[in-house]
Subunit: 156 residues, 2 copies
């Protein structure tokens, strides 16, 4: 079983997810040592959770299974290029490899905001369409100072 | 109660979270009609969930409370500039406004990967430190084609 096999599985999940009405046309599988250890499908509307994208769901499921907050040695297969949220989640999970099939352009053509969000992240905070304010306060650094001097913390 | 009040609340949550050992030095609150409707703190290590950042947790909590997958008219206050995952989540939740205090530079100085991930998203897929493959398959577009022709879907 190779990349092609697992990516077709992710695409099948995406198609089934539209048929079932659970959410958008996206699926993901996570593979470790040649075996699928978790899957995920978009369930934003059925779970009332805007973060419930296929990759995020698959990462959560895989981490629960591995009892870890990292996906060491895993490969994430996604039916479509991850949106910035999912790509960020993938970086935080630190898998060995990412594989996808459709692109953010394909997603945009189907009506999804992926390309728009990529564009927004690339511009300065005060030029974004999302109205954003930065509040100046001397306290902003306090949580970091406490974190840095805490000895028995779990870094991630 | 103004922006300063709510951002100080988010910073307090971040500090308390380090003290309790639940996770990293980050907190968020979500406000609607002048009232806090949900909060979130980083619980990556205590929940074995790399997506359990403060903003993601707060968004999930707020959506559960509102029984919706959108945060219409809400403001998200975060103790620190959201990482790409969280900023993506915020765009998908579509609040009216985002407010933060510390910056991604502050987070990077405390040892967090936020700035690194921002840099990675800005470079082409094949130049990223995360090894990424794009599998060519004619099936890649099938889920989107089915989505587009499905009549009774819930778009998001």
């Amino acid at each position: 079983m190779d990349d092609k096999y697992f990516i077709e599985k992710a695409i099948e999940l995406a198609t089934e997810n539209v048929k079932s009405g659970a959410g958008g046309p996206f699926g993901a599988v996570i593979v470790k040592d040649g075996k699928i250890i978790a899957t995920g499908v978009n369930s934003v509307t059925s779970e009332n959770d805007p973060t419930a994208h296929a990759e995020v769901k698959a990462i959560r499921n895989a981490c629960e299974k591995l009892n870890d907050y990292q996906l060491d040695g895993c490969t994430i297969y996604s039916s479509c290029e991850p949106c910035p949220m999912c790509l960020g989640a993938i970086y935080w999970a630190r898998p060995a490899k990412l594989v996808f099939a459709a692109t953010k352009k394909d997603a945009a053509e189907a009506g999804f905001d992926d390309a728009f969000i990529y564009d927004e992240l690339a511009v300065p905070v005060n030029s974004r369409k999302l109205y954003t304010e930065i509040v100046k306060t001397n306290n902003k650094i306090k949580p970091f100072e406490l974190w840095k001097k805490t000895q028995d913390k779990i870094a991630y």
